[in-house]
């Protein structure tokens, strides 16, 4: 499998999309030399790697983002050249015609000239010319990026992404499950690599925007409007995405991931996803717990309370995110059936089942993310926290400190008193309960 080497890709000279445009060869050569000089030599020096990162628009991994980047480079170079020309004249004029002596009142003024129409018209024509250079690739790219090209349409895969305050639901209309409709996941969109994917964009509340910079530019999810975009991942990989339209209190932490799999891996993943939730033997509701009441020491981790807004990512994960995702598909070692059974009961007692669905287990709620395979996802809380025991524990015990204003807290843990309008606690989750819930949720692979 390919791991994402970000830095190596960052400064690869981009292809200049002048394909069928009539520019002289010499100009192109000069252009290309200047380009490599600046790009390879200066940019990293100037920017110290500011063009590289999980959401870099410079490191494209698909044709849509690539096309958009190419258009950007056309605008960039036309702008840079014009800027250098105009700025040089401006700088020259400023230095050449400045006077150092303070008092000019006794000196004769310069010639009181009023302008030169020929120069003006010449410059206007030149600027129009420069804009045409930008306009041509722009037009071509507008049509290309709008929808899956005709030739590839038959091969296209379709998914529907729906924005919620503040998470994403992903539906697979082509994957129908007997008795429960289309396959549904949340916050991590798994797609086949090398195939165009048409993403239908919907929202249930306010405007959100679907943005995976390395695969495609953003398109908004508008209420009462059926938007879409298309993207294609050239190769399997793990990509960061984020909501790009301000959508309320926790807009900043409304994130998601896209995982592209090879055709075979994708088929296997689909088959796995379509089956009901995994049940660890002996943990069904009503089954006798194997070893009595679960105790704290059963849990494999010690929870440390975090301050609000503390980071939920780790370097180890980021070094090889795709491998981390694959690891996550495996069943955890050392599962504790006692804790899992207890967690499954708590899932009902703590009203989780009212908003979340675990297909095949309890719960058919649709207002929160579908949790049927939550254990196999790399992130929780809308792509915000890495899916570790620590983080899940933190999310379950103090959701409002992780994602302010979220609806698991408001309307779940606390509800509004209809008379006073005040928010009152409906339930809370203590550390022991959280450990059981973590064990149960992580068993859902």
């Amino acid at each position: 499998m390919r791991t994402l080497s970000r830095r190596a890709e960052a400064f690869r000279p981009p292809r200049f999309p002048f394909g069928d445009m009539t520019l002289t060869l010499t100009l192109r050569t000069a252009f290309s030399r200047a380009r490599s000089l600046v790009l390879v030599g200066l940019l990293p020096l100037l920017t110290g790697g500011w063009t590289s990162g999980p959401q870099s628009t410079f490191e494209t991994h698909g044709p849509v983002a690539k096309t958009q980047l190419d258009v950007f480079y056309v605008t960039l170079w036309v702008s840079v050249i014009l800027f250098v020309l105009v700025a040089a004249v401006l700088a020259y004029a400023t230095l050449r015609f400045r006077v150092r002596s303070g008092d000019l009142s006794n000196q004769p003024p310069p010639e009181q000239s009023h302008g030169n129409p020929l120069i003006e018209i010449g410059l206007i024509v030149l600027s129009i010319g420069a804009l045409v250079i930008i306009a041509v690739p722009t037009m071509r790219a507008i049509w290309y990026t709008y929808d899956v090209p005709e030739a590839e349409r038959a091969n296209a895969y379709e998914v529907t992404a729906t924005g919620y305050q503040w998470w994403f639901k992903f539906e697979y209309p082509q994957e129908q499950i007997e008795g429960s409709g289309a396959l549904v996941t949340g916050n991590e969109l798994v797609i086949p690599a090398g195939r165009p994917v048409r993403v239908n964009l919907r929202t249930v509340d306010v405007i959100h925007s679907f943005w995976v910079p390395k695969l495609a530019g953003k398109v908004d999810m508008m209420p009462n409007r059926g938007n879409h975009l298309w993207l294609k991942a050239d190769e399997p990989g793990y990509f960061w995405g984020q909501c790009a339209e301000f959508c309320g209190e926790s807009h900043a932490v409304m994130r998601f991931r896209v995982i592209a799999l090879s055709e075979a891996d994708f088929a296997a993943w689909l088959a796995q996803q379509k089956s009901p939730a995994r049940t660890v033997p002996g943990t069904q509701i009503g089954a006798t717990p194997a070893a009595g009441t679960p105790r704290v020491e059963f849990a494999s981790y010690k929870y440390e309370k975090q301050r609000p807004n503390s980071p939920g990512w780790s370097e180890g994960f980021d070094r090889a995110p795709f491998a981390a995702w694959q690891q996550k598909q495996q069943v955890d070692a050392g599962e504790k059936p006692e804790l899992i059974a207890q967690g499954r009961k708590l899932f009902i007692e703590k009203k989780c089942a009212g908003c979340h669905e675990v297909r095949g287990h309890e719960g058919a709620g649709i207002s929160g993310p579908n949790l049927t395979r939550i254990g196999a996802r790399t992130t929780i809380a809308g792509g915000l926290l890495e899916n570790t025991e620590q983080n899940l524990h933190r999310w379950l015990t103090e959701p409002n400190n992780v994602k302010p204003g979220n609806k698991m807290w408001f309307g779940g843990y606390v509800v509004r008193n209809s008379e006073t309008g005040a928010w009152e606690e409906q339930f809370s989750i203590n550390d022991d309960e959280a450990r059981s819930l973590v064990a149960y949720l992580h068993s859902l692979k």
């Binding site: 959401q55 958009q68 401006l90 000239s113 049509w143 900043a252």
Partner: protein, 652 residues
């Protein structure tokens, strides 16, 4: 009708004014609080606009510093998400509507009548009203900081349906969005009223010989901006009324559950919002077009082209609004059309840059502080212009939209553009307005601190945006490659803050203790410099006759001819009764206060209070009409000092 015929000032002074009812007694205080509250003098209104907009500029700047502190390091907890959202909403709203627009209006008010050789604007009381209404709107917008619900937090373009009661009222009883709606609505009244006044003034009150093609460019840009305001504000007024109806009376313009269309808000908002961008930048271009010729000792290069390109920008500005909406799924054809229209608007903008450089060419450039800010403007505005061209390519914009790249772009045109020009204007006209000159050393120091701080803050944001950082995010993780750029931007913001602080401290110092200067210290070219500083209440002892563009430059070179002409005009004017001055009035203030209280009641959904405010407004406007335009005549002695009229004689 009676009142109007009585005020007919062409003719002799009335022998003795008849007794008038108490409510129609015109205030006559020339100093003290009452003189400011009832002022109709365009220069005083200009100063009121200037001082209040600078105070709001400092407030908006403080909000920006808090934002940059929060973003200095990843996962910061300096601000909560809610506070951060309120801060960026109010930062933008304050800077656009309460700082840059009214600061431009301050110059329109103070400078424009002087440039066209007028004694006041066409409707002096309406001018006072525009200011007090502005203040009312500004107060309503900011009231949120002091009440439980908090300040508005929906972003400065308030996209529906986030502004609906369902989403902005989710977790608290919330009137912040109502405050935002009402505040903007009332500010719109102020802008439209003020603009109509400027249009009528420029069309009707030019001195003899001041043809349209002899107007100073700043006055031209005032005229174009005023037309933009009058034509674009109706769109946002409609949008805000629809939103107000949705929130207060359960209509469904944008209410999704009842079939409302949030996209409608975006179209209405940006049909206003894009001309608004030019409302913010055209006055700045006007100021620059005054400063560069003065300090080059040369006329503006290509005056007609500068004027027409300003008008073309204004016109095209109405045809590009959807480039703010490239990611809303408009479809290929609309996207392509708006993409090309946006590229087209770069041409007249580029033309202005060429002409400014042409103005410098072969000149005698004096590097005074206003000139430094003006040249800084040209450089920074070019950078903002070029990143604007990058946005016009819709496919590239799909990556840039709502990212920090956009944040960098509009700060380059709004700070590097508008604010630099306005700061240049303050420096430039300070000697005229206060008769004192800012120290060159301190002026240049503040320029360099602002210039460096500004670039260190906003240049890295281009990279943040292209590296995938969305705007309006209260936090970011440390693994995204955004840490160093954000930290540098925050350091830059502190430098910028220090530069601004120096600038304002130096201005305050100069106001009290600065070096006194005589008339026309810069060797300027336009009429406002032909009068003593600070300007007398009546502006021009004799209305000038204009013979050329750059009227004052012509005057300076034809002294004898002008002297003879002035003596003749003065005698003529005296035979018509002397210098006519408008009377002060309480009613503009009263009407604006009615809007303020009514508006506040409405935002609190206290409709009886709102109606009461409306009634007071109606009464105030009615009385305003019935007190008549008023006016009195001044007669000057040899030194230009008014001869005090015998009590009650000269006042109608």
């Amino acid at each position: 009708m009676q009142a109007i015929t009585k005020s007919d000032f062409i003719g002799k002074d009335t022998a003795a004014a008849e007794k008038r009812p108490f409510v129609f007694t015109r205030p006559t205080a020339k100093t003290g609080l009452v003189s400011w509250l009832t002022t109709v003098d365009h220069k005083r209104v200009g100063l009121l606009y200037g001082v209040s907009s600078l105070i709001f500029f400092l407030v908006g700047g403080f909000e920006a510093l808090l934002i940059r502190i929060q973003l200095a390091v990843p996962n910061n907890t300096f601000l909560s998400a809610q506070t951060y959202n309120e801060l960026f909403t109010m930062h933008a709203t304050t800077m656009i509507f309460l700082a840059v627009m009214p600061l431009s209006a301050a110059f329109f008010n103070y400078i424009m009548p002087l440039q066209i050789g007028a004694r006041d604007v066409a409707f002096p009381r309406l001018n006072g009203f525009a200011f007090w209404v502005f203040l009312a709107g500004a107060i309503i917008l900011n009231v949120g900081w002091f009440v439980k619900s908090g300040a508005p937090d929906v972003g400065w373009f308030g996209y529906a349906p986030l502004t609906s009661t369902a989403y902005s009222n989710q977790f608290a009883t919330d009137m912040s969005t109502d405050l935002w709606v009402m505040g903007l609505q009332i500010l719109g009244v102020s802008s439209v009223v003020g603009s109509l006044n400027f249009i009528v003034t420029i069309i009707n009150m030019r001195a003899p010989g001041m043809t349209m093609m002899r107007l100073p460019v700043f006055t031209w840009m005032t005229l174009i901006t005023a037309f933009l305001i009058v034509l674009s504000f109706p769109a946002i007024t409609i949008a805000l009324i629809a939103l107000m109806m949705d929130r207060s009376f359960g209509t469904s313009f944008f209410e999704v559950s009842n079939g409302g269309l949030p996209i409608l808000w975006q179209h209405l908002f940006w049909i206003f919002g894009h001309p608004e961008v030019y409302i913010l930048i055209l006055p700045a271009m006007g100021i620059i077009s005054e400063i560069l010729p003065t300090f080059s000792r040369k006329p503006l290069f290509g005056y007609p082209i500068i004027v027409f390109s300003g008008a073309v920008i204004g016109l095209l500005g109405f045809g590009v609004w959807s480039h703010h909406m490239f990611t809303t799924g408009m479809g290929t054809m609309a996207t392509a059309a708006f993409s090309i229209a946006t590229m087209a608007i770069a041409v007249p903008t580029g033309v202005k840059i060429f002409n400014w450089i042409g103005t410098l060419w072969n000149g005698q450039l004096q590097m005074r502080t206003p000139m430094m800010f003006a040249l800084g403007f040209v450089w920074m505005f070019m950078m903002g212009g070029f990143s604007g061209i990058m946005h016009s390519a819709a496919p590239a914009d799909a990556q840039q939209q709502d990212s920090y790249f956009v944040v960098a772009h509009f700060h380059y045109v709004l700070i590097g553009g508008s604010i630099f020009a306005l700061l240049a204007g303050i420096h430039y006209w300070f000697p005229l307005i206060f008769g004192r000159k800012v120290s060159e050393a301190w002026g240049k120091f503040s320029f360099w601190a602002i210039f460096v701080g500004f670039n260190v803050t906003f240049f890295p944001m281009h990279f943040l945006g292209l590296n995938g950082m969305p705007r309006r995010t209260f936090t970011y993780d440390g693994n995204m490659g955004w840490n160093s750029a954000n930290f540098i931007a925050s350091v830059g913001a502190m430098i910028l803050g220090i530069g601004m602080a120096v600038y304002f401290v130096v201005m305050l110092y100069t106001y009290f203790k600065g070096e006194k200067v005589g008339r026309d210290p810069w060797g300027a070219r336009t009429l406002e410099w032909s009068i003593p500083n600070p300007p007398p209440e009546y502006n021009f002892a004799v209305i000038p006759t204009v013979h050329a563009r750059d009227a004052f430059w012509y005057e300076k070179n034809h002294r004898d001819e002008i002297e003879r002409e002035k003596a003749k005009s003065a005698a003529e004017e005296e035979s018509h009764g002397g210098i006519h001055m408008p009377s002060q009035s309480w009613f503009p203030l009263l009407a604006a206060m009615a809007l303020l209280t009514g508006g506040l009641f409405f935002t609190n959904h206290n409709f009886m209070g709102a109606i009461a405010g409306g009634v007071v407004l109606f009464i105030a406007v009615y009385l305003w009409a019935w007190e008549g335009p008023g006016g009195y005549h001044l007669h000057l002695d040899k030194d230009g000092n008014p001869i005090e009229p015998k009590d009650g004689q000269a006042h109608h």
